[in-house]
Symmetry: C2
Subunit: 130 residues, 2 copies
DNA sequence: CCTACTGTACAGTGTATGTGTACAGTAAAC
DNA sequence: GTTTACTGTACACATACACTGTACAGTAGG
């Protein structure tokens, strides 16, 4: 069921592969495209799809299991579980502000026009609970 | 002149210290609060202010010099230079979209309400060339 | 010259990341 | 029950990265 949700990572990126996998899957989990009960591909299957070692995928699955998204059981694969959201904290919102500004500054330094970044931000903002 | 522009970093963060310094300074550079001609504090001065080793600051300065923001000369300190923006690329905008979605998903997973993230995105979007 | 500053270079240490290999749990075929 | 073919797990190893300690080299003013 989850097999058609293709995930892409960039092996040349400075961002570690396992973190890219976590980030990509978390987008699907938060948005509900990967809902409770869904089976994730096995670590070896996803590893060959992405071109990494299966232990790298296992590390990503473990990270998401620690966050409460996955039920990871020896011999039986990885399953998405229902998860109650933790309480929000002011620190997290401040962190979001900092990282968002840093991200925007990095892209503008690379030549991205501010207008494009603004419209992209609006697009993504509207994707959140549409 | 630049000494009052305080920079804060989180030594407990998973983000490397030198990258936090680069990100923080780049926000000031892109926004123009650090303009051409400004002198940056010496690597040792900023290092003691932030609580890191001066070589860590030096690495950050070198990164920004490679990006074309700083003129870094042996024995004479670090100075902000004028810099013509590089050409934008479609890849950079796609990267921005991916990283922005990943950032939003991470914060929502931590419990941040979508509405707050949206308003914060609008705030930051309006800060870009106001 | 000398002193006091500046950035630079490089080796050493600890941690993070990714891989290879062996292991252990599960379920279905037989 | 045993076998087979899958599942995730554990740990040692290699490499890269982040950070520090220390020594060095350039610059400016006394």
């Amino acid at each position: 069921m989850a097999d058609d949700l293709t995930l892409r990572i960039d092996l040349d990126s400075a961002v570690p592969a396992y973190r890219q996998i976590v980030d990509g899957l978390r987008i699907l989990l938060v948005s509900g495209r990967l809902a409770a009960g869904a089976e994730l591909p096995s670590v070896r299957r996803m590893a060959t799809d992405l071109g990494v070692h299966f232990n790298t995928v296992a590390e990503a699955y473990r990270t998401l299991a620690d966050e409460g998204w996955l039920d990871l059981r020896h011999g039986r694969g990885a399953r998405v579980v229902s998860r109650d959201a933790p309480a929000a904290s002011r620190e997290h919102l401040e962190e979001f502000g900092h990282r968002l500004r840093a991200l925007a500054a990095e892209m503008m330094a690379k030549g991205a026009p501010a207008a494009k970044l603004r419209s992209l931000m609006r697009t993504v903002a509207e994707e959140l609970e549409p």
